[in-house]
């Protein structure tokens, strides 16, 4: 729990500070991991840690979710709210949509054909 308290504040500050380059992107494009099209390479923008329960937030950090990390949605379980499997770094991680909703992403530019 200590880690969460210590990390929450500074990290959220960093994300919402006007200097943060991700913020502009985040506002211009409100895509989250929940809505990111499947198999579309993207980068993690801001993560709204405050929306997550603290054990969830901690595990999310431990699995490597962080601003600027490459992410890709691999699978969605059934229509209507099943979990999402995504690639984060080199790992495949399953998470629920409510958590995915707290993670904003920006799609990488499409590679030139």
């Amino acid at each position: 729990m200590l880690i969460d308290n210590q990390l929450h504040a500074p990290y959220t500050d960093a994300v919402t500070s006007p200097r943060s380059p991700s913020r502009a992107r985040h506002e211009a494009d409100s895509l989250t991991l929940e809505t990111l099209p499947r198999r579309r390479a993207a980068t993690v923008g801001a993560i709204e840690w405050a929306r997550l329960a603290s054990p969830e937030a901690r595990r999310l950090r431990e699995l490597g979710f962080d601003e600027g990390v490459a992410v890709e949605v691999l699978h969605r379980a059934r229509l209507g709210g099943g979990p999402i499997a995504c690639r984060i770094g080199r790992m495949t991680v399953a998470l629920r949509r409510a958590v995915a909703r707290a993670i904003s992403v920006s799609p990488d530019p499409m590679p030139a054909e």
Binding site: L2, I3, Q6, L7, Y11, A53, P55, E56, R58, R59, L60, R61, E62, L63, G64, D66, V69, L74, H75, R76, A77, R78, L79, G80, G81, G82, P83, A85, G89, R90, M91, T92, V93, A94, L95, R96, A98, V99
Partner: protein, 623 residues
């Protein structure tokens, strides 16, 4: 006696620690328990290059030093020296998955920062190379400041080099002096995970020589296994094959075991004079133990499937597919794995709940696990169905007997879901927990690991059949045989057990249970499969004719029970928590008597009510 130096193996889940542990220690392994917790302690001996022995302990996989589960807590407490019953390790062997460096390095860095001597095993380098990833261990060594040895545990590559590094590391200086970063007295460690993670990513990138994206077969498998339509179809098909195999593959071995016991009985009857000893051995031990050992093949087939599904990495995919369903009753996909294991036996199932992080979630899963139709119920179901349900085809390929068995399985599942729903709204009320899980790469299950798993199950089962079950049936035999009934009186009614049963009969009479069932229910508290043995023993003693074989028992049942009684008896076994091992493991896992007592209470209540309803409905329907 001076203890050998202790080396602890630490790493993320799925880093291949166990395979490396097996490669380092071979057969010289010991499985114990940490005091006060039910986390298993795997340790083994290893001889260093200079001949000195070292004790190697394989710690549970963890993501960081901030524990989320009892397993992870043990890992943290051991490496910080806070674990009761374990000394501070003299060195750490940190295992990282070469193809998942950016994540595993973070935990490695956290461990290195503790200040103990460390050697890093860069494990599964072959799989990384297959994925097109070439790494430079020298860069890792420089950045981490500790020796790094590339290994392929399953092929024993790098094992000698690793042992060489350990030889240099262990015993050089008193290790305890090196522990420089133990902050709180409770062993907790504060680390900025995000900063460490970023640093880990930088190092991982620096150590990457080249990376060629290759089409990974892992993704191809997942695109079927996790497909919105084909995924669930595959899961149902796998479960169907599993349960089908339990019955069809086991037929032949069951025949062999039955034959062996029958031969043994015939031999004893010929070798011994009629009397006390012969009756004890044939009616007591062989009738009782034989009735139970017959089910070993089915139990092993079930465990074979579960071990293979687990080792291949498919189990996590199943959890993924089941999360939505489990969420409906307030659980998560994680609960699916322990619940599926509970179909084999609730004891390993309940132990597997340790991976569930949320306390309420875990407790709910423990409380409903005994409702999954465990293999110990099979003997009871099989005998009763065989005796009372006609072997009639209701549909092409669907027999009535199989349908009833399927319905009993289904009833257990539905019962468990209803129970979870109610529990989550009352006693285990709380925020619905999340579902977040790493999905490991698919792996070919290794024959040796599956074999070892099956062997340990066989050992446990036979030990139980040879001790608890044998003893219970012998005690029951004695209670049934004495005092000897005078002429004209029935032995079963006149005996001590019969008199106890007459007391219980008053309670169970309203739900259609007769004197024989009341008699069987008492020893069955030890284990469900005893029900068959107990009834078998009772009828063997009661009958002049030999009735200890299955054939005899079935005919006996048909003559003595009505159909509503048999149906009520089946329903009772769907719910009744008649298993001392389950109760004991629940007590251990929940640290006290409160939850096991609650479990016993609610399950017996459910069993009584459901058996009663079944009986009266069946009577009303004129069955």
């Amino acid at each position: 006696m001076e203890l050998p130096p202790l080396v602890a193996m630490v790493g993320n889940p799925n880093a291949g620690k166990s395979a490396l542990f097996n490669a380092l220690t071979g057969a010289r392994q010991k499985v114990g328990n940490y005091p006060g917790v039910t986390v298993e302690r795997h340790s083994g001996r290893l001889a260093l290059d200079d001949g000195r022995p070292v004790e190697l302990v394989d710690l549970p996989g963890a993501y960081s030093l901030d524990p989320a589960s009892p397993d992870e807590r043990v890992t943290r407490d051991v490496v910080t020296g806070a674990q009761a019953g374990e000394r501070l390790p003299d060195a750490l062997l940190v295992v990282v998955d070469a193809s998942n460096l950016d994540n595993h390095l973070r935990f490695a860095m956290q461990l290195i920062a503790l200040g103990l001597p460390v050697v890093v095993a860069l494990n599964m380098v072959d799989l990384a190379e297959r994925d097109g990833l070439v790494l430079d261990p020298a860069v890792l060594e420089r950045e981490l400041g500790v020796p790094v040895v590339p290994t392929v545990a399953v092929r024993r590559r790098g094992i000698d080099a690793l042992r060489g590094q350990l030889t240099a590391l262990v015993g050089g200086s008193p290790a305890a002096a090196g522990l420089r970063r133990l902050r709180a007295s409770d062993g907790s460690v504060d680390d900025d995970i995000v900063t460490l993670q970023r640093r880990a990513r930088v190092i991982a990138t620096a150590a990457t020589v080249s990376e060629t994206p290759v089409r990974r077969w892992n993704h191809m498998l997942d695109s079927v296994a996790l497909h919105p339509f084909f995924g669930p179809v595959l899961l149902v098909a796998l479960l169907f094959v599993m349960f089908q195999a339990v019955f069809s593959w086991s037929e032949a071995p069951i025949g062999w075991i039955e034959g062996a016991f029958a031969a043994l009985e015939a031999w004893l009857k010929g070798a011994l004079p009629d009397g006390f000893l012969r009756s004890l051995l044939t009616d007591g031990v062989i009738a009782g133990v034989g009735a139970v050992v017959v089910f070993l093949p089915q139990i092993l087939i079930l465990f074979l499937f579960i071990l293979v599904l687990e080792a291949s990495g498919y189990m996590v995919r199943a959890a993924f597919l089941m999360d939505r369903v489990m969420a409906q009753v307030g659980l998560s996909g994680r609960a699916f794995i322990p619940l599926l294991s509970s179909f084999a036996c609730a004891v390993p199932g309940i132990m597997a709940t340790r991976t569930i992080e949320d306390e309420k979630d875990r407790l709910t899963t423990i409380l409903i696990a005994p409702l999954m139709t465990c293999s110990a119920r099979l003997p009871v179901y099989t005998i009763i169905i065989g005796a009372f349900i006609p072997a009639r085809q209701v549909l092409p390929f669907v027999g009535l007997q199989g349908l009833v068995l399927f319905a009993l399985y289904l009833l257990g599942i539905v019962g468990a879901f209803v129970a979870a729903l109610l529990l989550r709204r009352t006693v285990t009320k709380g925020e619905s927990s999340g579902f977040m899980m790493e999905m490991p790469k698919y792996q070919m299950p290794r024959l040796r690991d599956v074999g070892l798993g099956l062997w340990s199950r066989t050992e446990i089962f036979l030990k139980r059949a040879g001790t608890t079950i044998a003893l219970t049936t012998v005690v029951l035999w004695a209670l049934l045989s004495y005092p000897q009934a005078p002429a004209g009186q029935k032995q079963v009614d006149y005996s001590i057990a019969g008199r106890i049963a007459s007391g219980l009969e008053v309670i169970v009479r309203p739900i259609g249970f007769n004197h024989d069932i009341a008699l069987a229910l008492i020893p069955t508290m030890a284990a469900r499969e005893i029900a068959v043995a107990a009834i078998g023993t009772a009828y063997a003693i009661d009958d002049v004719e030999d009735a200890s074989g299955e054939k005899g028992l079935v005919d006996q049942l048909r003559g003595r029970w009505s159909l509503p009684t048999a149906l009520a008896f089946l329903m009772w076994f769907v719910f009744a928590p008649q298993c001392i091992s389950t109760i004991a493991v629940t007590r251990r896992e929940t640290n006290g008597w409160r939850w096991p007592l609650f479990m016993i209470g609610y399950l017996f209540a459910a069993a009584y009510v459901m058996a009663g309803i079944t009986y009266w409905l069946a009577v009303a329907a004129g069955l």
